[in-house]
Symmetry: C2
Subunit: 320 residues, 2 copies
């Protein structure tokens, strides 16, 4: 009998770390998920090493082979040095993660950004299965995109391609744009919450206040979504404005890259029932017409596991 | 003595067709340029066949070998069928150009869009020599981009990637956007001329009228540029507005693709002395900061021959 071979995936997120084994067919085994310990620069590193050991141990128990482990990071992985920049993890600022991990294991490691993993995961086992030209647009606290063209990841000259949160979509420059980019300032989950809080602070009436028991500072994008579902005028107005920018951002991606599919993910698209159809309708006004006609816009099929699948696929592609 | 080998390049433009031989080192020999004959669908086809024969003849005379001929088209080349769509050539609407030409010669032919040829040409022998992540932005009658990522052309799922003239850059949708896209409607050479004519028709005073001897309908982008050089307030105002959109469009390309270099070409950048510095300054407000810091923005080094070099490079890459 042939020995079974596996690749591991580890998804380092902003709040938790997940790990699992995957067969070459994309079957996931024994997923674990732990809250990330941000107590020091070293603590999440030790957590990742612990998960590497546990993946290695499980494969040994099964009498199989572990080809490699793919790891994705909520930020940028500088491919030559293996250093990472992850703004939500304290001290991971050009931190030499790949060399640090490589000292601790003989298993080959592959690292990339979360957004590259997302698009690979959806292409391998999710909404974009088998397609070669796919973009994953993640809209949560921030906005970023994973880009696949002709079956290859687009990384850019400094590994920071996909920074679409910086798309300029309105020539009337505002101060917020300088910190995070125009698209992100107008349409991310974080910005939708911020806009709502500003309007409530300015005295605009809304049922949002009841949801947070009068404490406007607790309003988030999900509060806005919940109120909009109940027909609140202010919440609907805020989402309508965001839909225009989301549609323009998607249209710009479609016009420049001519993908077969855009996969939408990230926290904001938990409200895809409210957002998807308005976006699909609005984006056609903006995108190159033939590209608009042939692209499909879908919501992530793998949800929270997208990065984990993609991390494992990075490993399979390089060492499988 | 080894026989010399060549590839040919043919650049089918909107107004003329050029052809030349190229060595593998990028040395150009015997360039010819003829005005395109738009009298029928067939006439430009016959002109291209004539140029193929002439390239073949010259190589024979020299006792050399012709590996292949690359041909670029002012529009879209559908890579599977070899059909072309070129809006400025009558009847070239899904016209089966590659099969028609292939019947007439045994020399291998490679075809692609002009914008793909532009970026390849500049990367081979022009401003972006040896770079792997390059975008050529052509701003003339229209706006389009050739995209090179990791040394490979990005073509998209239907061969229409790079349609950046359709970038949405202003949420206040205007009717012109529906025909050509927001970016093109705000910043192409064609649109700059149109805006000037509209403002003159509305009675705005300007020295532009003197240049065209009072015939406002003759005003083009070059008239605007000429007046702006002489300090005309209306012309400067029109170019200032275009610079904002050009900077936003370039910033959006930089943020999504993180190229090493943007090469600017097309008729409008004959005025690069007026436009380049203001664009370089403005685009930094909009683009992802690290990507903005590392990208260079330069004007085409090959000028009118960019497409010819790129067409030959297509042939060398495939058959050399």
């Amino acid at each position: 009998m042939r020995r079974k071979t596996f690749c591991g995936g580890i998804d380092v997120g902003g709040t938790k770390i997940s790990a699992a084994l995957f067969t070459s067919q994309g079957k996931m085994l024994g997923r674990r998920r732990v809250p990330i310990d941000k107590g020091s620069v070293e603590k999440p590193v030790r957590q990742v090493i612990g998960l590497i050991r546990s993946l290695e141990g499980r494969v040994r128990q099964q009498g199989g082979d572990l080809c490699a482990i793919g790891i994705c990071i909520p930020g940028v992985v500088f491919s030559r040095s293996g250093r990472v920049w992850a703004p939500n993890i304290p001290g991971w600022d050009r931190f030499p993660l790949r060399p640090r991990l490589a000292m601790k294991t003989k298993t080959p490691l592959v690292m990339d950004s979360d957004r590259s993993a997302y698009v690979l995961g959806e292409q391998w086992c999710g909404a974009a299965r088998g397609k070669k030209d796919v973009v994953f647009l993640a809209v949560g606290t921030g906005i970023g995109a994973g880009l696949l063209s002709g079956g290859r990841l687009i990384r850019g000259s400094r590994d920071i391609a996909g920074a679409v949160g910086w798309f300029g979509l309105d020539p009337r420059f505002r101060n917020e744009y300088a910190a995070m980019g125009c698209f992100e300032a107008e349409a991310s989950g974080g910005s939708i919450g911020r806009k709502a809080r500003e309007l409530l602070d300015a005295g605009e009436p809304s049922s949002m206040l009841a949801i947070v028991k009068g404490r406007a500072e607790r309003v988030t994008a999900l509060t806005v979504v919940e109120s909009a579902r109940a027909g609140d005028a202010l919440a609907c107005h805020i989402l309508d404005a965001a839909v225009i920018y989301l549609a323009m951002g998607i249209a710009n991606i479609v016009s420049i890259l001519n993908p077969e599919m855009i996969v939408l993910g990230g926290g904001l698209f938990q409200a895809s029932d409210l957002l998807l159809e308005p976006i699909r309708k609005e984006f056609k006004r903006w995108a190159q017409p033939l590209a608009a006609k042939t692209v499909r816009i879908e919501v992530s099929a793998l949800g929270e596991d997208t990065g984990l699948f993609g991390a494992a696929k990075l490993a399979w592609d390089r060492f499988g």
